[in-house]
C-alpha cells in the first residue's frame, strides 16, 4: 500500500465544502490550510490507484488544482516492480 500526500487548492469560500466532501473518504486524512486556501490529503492506497485518486480530487466541486507532495511505495516493492 502506497502512502502519498496531495496539496488540493481551492478558494476561501469553497474550503469548508471541499473539506466536507473529501472528509467522507475512508482512505484519506484531510488537513485544511487557511492561507493559501487549500487542503492536504494523506492517502493510503495501492500506487496503481493513485492517479485515479488524483483525478477524483480534481473532479471534486470547488477544487482548483491538485499537486503531489510526497509518495512512498516501499511496502509494494516486495510484490510488484516497475512496469
Amino acid at each position: 500500500m502506497a502512502i502519498a500526500s496531495f496539496i488540493i487548492h481551492t478558494t476561501r469560500q469553497d474550503l469548508a465544502g471541499v473539506k466536507a466532501s473529501l472528509s467522507q473518504r475512508r482512505d484519506a486524512t484531510i488537513l485544511p490550510w487557511e492561507s493559501p486556501p487549500c487542503l492536504v490529503a494523506v492517502i493510503e492506497r495501492p500506487s496503481k490507484e493513485l492517479e485515479r485518486v488524483e483525478r477524483e480530487f480534481k473532479a471534486t466541486p470547488g477544487v482548483l488544482s491538485v499537486a503531489t507532495a510526497y509518495l512512498n511505495i516501499e511496502d509494494e516493492l516486495g510484490g510488484e516492480g516497475a512496469k
Binding site: 502512502i3 488537513l31 493559501p36 503531489t68 507532495a69 510526497y70 512512498n72 516492480g81 516497475a82
Partner: protein, 752 residues
C-alpha cells in the same frame, strides 16, 4: 511522538505538503510563534534547500522551507526536524582531553595548548608530512578554506583531505577529465524542462527527496516525459521509471558504451555538435592520446547491445530502448550519485555519462545537462571549490602544476616555489599512515571511524599510541570520539555564520540565529587559535571572523573560472543564494555554463555558441573507456554482492538524525535487504537474523525480504553505529580519484 514506521511515513507525507505551505516544524514549541525568522540552508544533503529558522527565547523553535530558494518552501522531514538536532542534549559543551584512557573535561587553554604543542613537536621531529587535516563536506566554506590555507600555506603540509573523497571524488575526476573544470554545467531548474531523465546509480527519492519531488512533478505535468533508471535495486526512484534496468553492480560501463553504440548505429548522434565541440581521447600507456571519431566507433563496435546485455544481465532490447529514449528526447538530463562515484571505475563511469550527452549534443541547453548529485551540503562549495583535497589548490588548481602553485603563492603572499610540490595523502592513505608516518591529525566535522571503508583496518591505527588525534565536533556520541586525544566542542549549523555551496553551484549564506550551548565555539575561531599557537605566520591568517575569510576567498575567485567576486556578504544576506560564475555585483548568477550568452566566462564575442574553456582546445573530451570488473567479485566462498547506502529517514552515520526521537523510533537499527528468491533458497524469512561474512568482517542484521534487490545482491545502510556495515566493505580505490568502492564487495549470506 512514539510511532511505527508506517505512521512515520504518513507523518512525513503530511509534513512534505505542510512545509510547502509554510508550516514550520519544531518540538513542543511548534505551537508558539517565533520571535524572529532567520534565513539559512538545510544541514543535510547536497540539495541545499533553503530554510527559515524560527527562533524563540534564543532557541531554534521550528524550521520551515525558504519560499525564495530553489526548493520553493519545500523540505523533507529530516530538514523540517532540524530543531531536534540542534537542541539535542548530546551536544558537546566543553573541551575534552583524554587522561588515563578517558575523555575528561578541560579548559579551552588546556585543550588548545596541548593540541598546538603536539602539532609543533610533530613538525619539529618528523616534518610537515607527519601532520594532517581531515575535513568535511559539512563544514562551512570559510572553515574549509581556512584549514586548507593553514596546512598547505602555513604548515607546508598537503595532507589535507576530507570525506568528499569518499563520496564525490570520482565526480570531480569525471568533470575535470571531460570538461577541464569541476562542477556541473546546469542547475536544478533543468528538471523543469527536461523531457527525459537518465538516472543511474542514484536513489534520488530517498537521498534527495526534494529534487525527486521536482522530478516527479515534471513527469506528472507532462506524461510524455520519460524516466530511465539504472539501478540493481528496485528503489522508490525506479518505481516511477518508464524503463528500469536492474544491471549487475559494476557493469554500467558496458551499458553506457552499448548505448553509445546504438546511438551511432541508429544515427541518433548530433554530428554537428560533436564535430565542432568534442575531442576523442583514450589513455595509452598511462597518457591521454588523441583519437578520432572513427577510432571511437571502432571501440564501440565491441559493445553491441547483445554483448552488454550478457555482461549487465538486462535485456538487449532494454539497452536499445534506453539509448533511443535518451537520444530522441528534445532535452535529456542525467542524474547520478554514489552508485557511479563509489567505484574503482568511478571516474570512467562519470566520463561515460558525459559521453552520451556530448555525442547527442544534449548538453548546455535548458533541460539538457549532465548533473552529478551531491551527498553533503557543502562538499561542492566548501571542499571542491576551495581545493581542500590532497591534490588541489583553491579555484580548480592542482598542486602538481607549478604554474598553479606559483599563482597561489603570489595570491597568498608566499615566496615563489615555497608551496610543497608533492600532493598529500588521500583519505584512506592518510588513515593507513596514521600512527606511522602521520603522527598528528586534526579532524573537523566528520566521523571517519564509522564512514571509512574496511573500517576496522583504520580504527586499528586510530588506537595507536603513536598518533595524536584532535577533533572539532558538535556531538558527544560520534563514533570517532572513542579514539580522540582532544575534543573541541563546535558551534553547529546556525550557531555561527557562513556559506554553503550546494550541488548546483549555488552559494547561500547561513546566518547566525542562536548562540552555541555551553562553551562551544565556531570552528573558524578554533582553527585560528590553533594556527596562532602553532606559530603560523600571522600575515597568512589576518581574519577576525568568517566574513573576513569570505572576503579573501571571494577576491581570489576572481582569478579563476569559479569567479564569484560579485557575491558580496551583503548580497548573500539579501538573497537566497546565487549560482557561480557571478563576476560582478550586478550579475544575476549563471544557470548554464560553457554557453555564450549564459556563462560570463565565455566571451560575448566568442565565435562559437559553446566553449569548453577548461580544456586548452576549447573542446570537451569523449573518452574511450572499456568495461572493467569491480575490485572484488562474488565467488564460491562469497557468492553474493553487498552494496551499501542510505535510507530516507537517516543521514550518513546517524550522528544527527538519531537525535530526532521520531526518526530513531521509526528506523532504529540497520537491516539487510535480501531478494525473495535468494531468501527462500537460504531459508530466510522477513525479520530473521542474517549473518553477512566478507573477507574483512562479519555482521548480523535483521532481514527485509522482497524484490528490491535483484537476485544475488544484498543491501545494507551504514547509519547504525551499533552495526558498522563498513567493517564489511572493501577499501580498493579508483586509480584516478582515489575514491573507495563502497558499492561492491563479495559477501556470504546465511541465516544466523
Amino acid at each position: 511522538m512514539g510511532c511505527t514506521r508506517r505512521e512515520f511515513i504518513k507523518y512525513s507525507a503530511a509534513m512534505a505538503a505542510l512545509t510547502f505551505l509554510g508550516y514550520g516544524c519544531g518540538r513542543k514549541e511548534a505551537e508558539a510563534t517565533p520571535d524572529t525568522w532567520v534565513k539559512g540552508v538545510c544541514r543535510f544533503c547536497g540539495t541545499g534547500c533553503g530554510v527559515m529558522v524560527g527562533v524563540r527565547n534564543g532557541k531554534v523553535a521550528m524550521v520551515k522551507g525558504d519560499p525564495n530558494n530553489h526548493n520553493k518552501g519545500m523540505l523533507c522531514l529530516k530538514g523540517a526536524l532540524l530543531a531536534s538536532v540542534i537542541n539535542s542534549p548530546d551536544r558537546l559543551t566543553t573541551p575534552l582531553i583524554r587522561k588515563g584512557g578517558t575523555l575528561v573535561k578541560a579548559t579551552w587553554e588546556e585543550a588548545l595548548d596541548l593540541t598546538a604543542t603536539r602539532f609543533k613537536q610533530t613538525l619539529e621531529q618528523f616534518g610537515p608530512k607527519a601532520v594532517a587535516y581531515y575535513g568535511s563536506g559539512q563544514a562551512l566554506t570559510e572553515e574549509s578554506y581556512l584549514a586548507n590555507k593553514i596546512f598547505k600555506a602555513g604548515l607546508k603540509s598537503n595532507n589535507v583531505d576530507g570525506n568528499p573523497r569518499l563520496c564525490m571524488a570520482s565526480a570531480v575526476g569525471g568533470y575535470v577529465s571531460t570538461f577541464g573544470k569541476d562542477e556541473p554545467m546546469g542547475s536544478y531548474e533543468d528538471m523543469d524542462s527536461a523531457n527525459c531523465f537518465f538516472i543511474i546509480g542514484s536513489n534520488t527519492s530517498e537521498c534527495h527527496p526534494i529534487l525527486f519531488r521536482r522530478l516527479a512533478a515534471r513527469k506528472q505535468s507532462d506524461p510524455s516525459v520519460k524516466i530511465i533508471v539504472v539501478d540493481p535495486r528496485l528503489t522508490n526512484t525506479a518505481r516511477i521509471a518508464d524503463l528500469h534496468l536492474p544491471v549487475v553492480p559494476g557493469t554500467d560501463l558496458a551499458l553506457m558504451n552499448a548505448m553509445a553504440h546504438v546511438i551511432f548505429n541508429e544515427e541518433l548522434d548530433d554530428s554537428k555538435f560533436h564535430g565542432k565541440y568534442v575531442s576523442f581521447k583514450a589513455m595509452v600507456d598511462g597518457k591521454p592520446v588523441e583519437k578520432s571519431l572513427e577510432d571511437y566507433r571502432t571501440f564501440l563496435a565491441d559493445y553491441t547491445p547483445e554483448k552488454a546485455a550478457a555482461i549487465c544481465s538486462v535485456p538487449a532490447e532494454s539497452i536499445v530502448q534506453a539509448a533511443k529514449l535518451f537520444a530522441n528526447s528534445s532535452a535529456t538530463m542525467s542524474l547520478w550519485c554514489m552508485g557511479l562515484n563509489q567505484r574503482i571505475q568511478g571516474v570512467w563511469a562519470n566520463n561515460l555519462v558525459h559521453n552520451l550527452h556530448l555525442i547527442t549534443g544534449k548538453i548546455c541547453k535548458p533541460g539538457s545537462t549532465s548533473f552529478s548529485l551531491t551527498g553533503q551540503p557543502n562538499a561542492c562549495g566548501g571542499v571542491r571549490d576551495t581545493g581542500s583535497l590532497a591534490h588541489l589548490l583553491p579555484g580548480g588548481r592542482l598542486i602538481a602544476n607549478q604554474e598553479h602553485r606559483n599563482q597561489m603563492e603570489e595570491i597568498w603572499g608566499l615566496p615563489k616555489d615555497s608551496l610543497n610540490p608533492a600532493p598529500g595523502l588521500f583519505t584512506t592513505a592518510m588513515f593507513a599512515a596514521l600512527g606511522d608516518t602521520v603522527r598528528a591529525m586534526l579532524v573537523l566535522c566528520t566521523n571517519p571511524a564509522q564512514s571509512l571503508p574496511n573500517v576496522k583496518k583504520y580504527t586499528a591505527n586510530l588506537k595507536k599510541s603513536t598518533k595524536f588525534l584532535a577533533i572539532i565536533e558538535a556531538f558527544a556520541d560520534a563514533e570517532t570520539l572513542k579514539y580522540a586525544d582532544v575534543v573541541f566542542p563546535a558551534a553547529f549549523w546556525c550557531e555561527r555564520e557562513g556559506v554553503y555551496g550546494s550541488g548546483e553551484r549555488r552559494y547561500c549564506l547561513i546566518e547566525k540565529a542562536v548562540a552555541s550551548p555551553g562553551e562551544a565555539r565556531p570552528s573558524v575561531n578554533i582553527l585560528l587559535d590553533l594556527a596562532t599557537r602553532m606559530g603560523v605566520d600571522p600575515k597568512l591568517i589576518p581574519f577576525k571572523n568568517s566574513a573576513d575569510i569570505w572576503e579573501e576567498w571571494r577576491e581570489i575567485s576572481a582569478k579563476s573560472a569559479y569567479n564569484f567576486k560579485g557575491m558580496t556578504r551583503e548580497r548573500l544576506r539579501k538573497t537566497s543564494g546565487l549560482l557561480w560564475p557571478c563576476p560582478t555585483e550586478d550579475h544575476p548568477g549563471t544557470k548554464i555554463r560553457y554557453s555564450r550568452g549564459d556563462d560570463p566566462m565565455v566571451p560575448a564575442d566568442h565565435p562559437d555558441k559553446y566553449f569548453f574553456y577548461g580544456n586548452p582546445n576549447g573542446r570537451a573530451n569523449v573518452w574511450l573507456r572499456p568495461h572493467k570488473p569491480a575490485a572484488e567479485l562474488p565467488d564460491a566462498e562469497y557468492p553474493f554482492i553487498l552494496t551499501t547506502g542510505r535510507v530516507i529517514d537517516q543521514w550518513h552515520t546517524g550522528t544527527m538524525t538519531n537525535k530526532v526521537p521520531e526518526i530513531r523510533k521509526a528506523f532504529p537499527a540497520a537491516f539487510v535487504e535480501v531478494n525473495q528468491e535468494d531468501a527462500k533458497r537460504l531459508g530466510i524469512a522477513n525479520g530473521d537474523n542474517v549473518r553477512l561474512d566478507t573477507r574483512r568482517g562479519s555482521l548480523v542484521l535483521s532481514a527485509r525480504v522482497g524484490e528490491v534487490c535483484r537476485p544475488g545482491l544484498v543491501f545494507a545502510p551504514f547509519y547504525d553505529a551499533q552495526k558498522l556495515v563498513n567493517e564489511l566493505t572493501v577499501d580498493a580505490v579508483d586509480e584516478a580519484s582515489k575514491q573507495p568502492e563502497f558499492k561492491i564487495c563479495a559477501v556470504r549470506v546465511s541465516k544466523a
